[in-house]
């Protein structure tokens, strides 16, 4: 019994010695070393925060239509329909071709702005440095030639979404055709029906379906897309039945 008791004490003492030995291997720093270590740690922390800050902020440019504005913030809707938040401070410069004294108070909803500044990836906000009033983007439409009016010099273009635009050709309109790997000059007389076409121009203020073309690119080697409907679309047009009978709409009897 006594032997066992001694063995137990020996084991306990052994474990205590192991703990002490491992604790002693950790060297206690002297006061000078401690200060130096503290300085190194501070420097490391400063470098790390600066690196993080540099990675977090980058220069970026926003372009969009104003949806909301206050003294310190502008909300934009970009070309992809995304909402963008812009912060304005005393260092932000404002410019507009229409006004020399353009400032935050002149910004209204539906105005088109270009903003250059510092974008914070974490907050997803742009700190504006330059805010400029921009012109609206031209219309870039792709479709196929649906019809041509050689008297009025207009083309009706059928688009992929089923809509149609009347394209007004002016004397300033530049027409090109992409044939055999080359972009060559072309003209209205060379435009053919069902041909693929790209039109760059501006919407008519009075008629939103009419575009005044500044440039036209014809793509004769590319077929009209499968989503482009080149069939008749006029709602007033009554399709022929082949029987000579005119189609009339069926009137449902009243349920009352």
């Amino acid at each position: 019994m006594k032997k066992l008791f001694l063995t137990l004490i020996f084991l306990i003492l052994l474990s205590v010695r192991i703990d002490n030995a491992s604790a002693l291997t950790t060297k206690t720093p002297t006061p000078t070393e401690s200060v130096l270590q503290q300085q190194v740690d501070e420097l490391k922390s400063k470098i790390a925060s600066k690196v993080a800050e540099l990675n977090l902020v980058e220069k970026r440019a926003f372009f969009g239509t104003v949806t909301d504005v206050s003294d310190t913030q502008i909300t934009l809707k970009d070309i992809g329909g995304n909402t963008k938040f812009v912060d304005v401070d005393e260092l932000t410069k404002f410019s507009s071709a229409n006004s020399k004294s353009f400032g935050i108070s002149d910004i209204e909803n539906n105005m088109t702005l270009g903003v250059l500044g510092l974008y914070n990836k974490q907050s997803r906000r742009l700190l504006a440095r330059v805010v400029n009033e921009e012109n609206k983007l031209p219309q870039f439409i792709y479709g196929a030639v649906y019809s041509l009016d050689s008297k009025e010099f207009t083309i009706t273009v059928a688009k992929e979404n089923g809509a149609r635009n009347v394209v007004d050709i002016e004397t300033v309109t530049k027409t090109f055709s992409y044939e055999e790997g080359k972009l060559v000059k072309s003209g209205f007389s060379q435009i053919k029906g069902t041909e693929s076409i790209i039109v760059i121009g501006f919407l008519d203020d009075d008629d939103k379906k009419t575009i005044t073309a500044s440039r036209i690119i014809l793509l004769p080697e590319i077929m009209a897309g499968p989503d482009i409907d080149l069939g008749p679309q006029d709602e007033d047009l009554v399709p022929s039945t082949g029987s000579g009978k005119k189609l009339t709409p069926i009137k449902q009897p009243s349920t009352k």
Binding site: T7, L11, A61, F63, L116, N132, S196, I200, P226
Partner: protein, 141 residues
């Protein structure tokens, strides 16, 4: 005698636990975790859409990028037999991609905000479009 056996068994178990504990401690301290493999696994290539036989990826320029100069590179990847049309407010450029589908060209931009539309067409008329906003400024901020 019976009491001695109980104590002896107890000590044996205790020693076994201590030895196992030490062995486990050493095993844990020698184990290394490969940090490069601990990140989220991402699909390296986009899943091709079943609907559209054409795709268009634009590597350069990045959207909303502020360019260093007025000449910027437009590069990307599409299907090999596509025709790529690059349009800006003032210019147009049409290029054919390589047999791998890669394309690259340079475009001149103006001061301020620039809009670039990149559209790839298949001979059958299928198309894909990517839009980019790129700016150039001499302002330092």
């Amino acid at each position: 005698m019976k009491q001695e056996r109980v104590i002896l068994s107890f000590i044996t178990v205790l020693i076994g636990l201590v030895v196992a504990g030490i062995a486990f401690y050493f095993y844990q301290s020698t184990k290394t975790v490969n940090t490069t493999q601990s990140g989220r696994l991402e699909n390296p290539s986009p899943t091709p859409s079943e609907k559209s036989p054409i795709f268009l990826q634009v590597f350069e320029p990045k959207n909303e990028q502020i360019a260093d100069g007025k000449t910027i590179r437009v590069s990307g990847k599409t299907v090999a037999d596509a025709t790529v049309v690059i349009l800006t407010k003032e210019t147009e450029e049409i290029i054919e991609p390589s047999s791998e589908g890669d394309f690259s060209t340079t475009v001149q931009i103006d001061d301020g905000i620039n809009y670039i539309k990149i559209q790839a067409f298949l001979p059958t008329g299928e198309t894909q479009t990517v839009q980019r906003i790129v700016a150039y400024t001499t302002e330092d901020f």
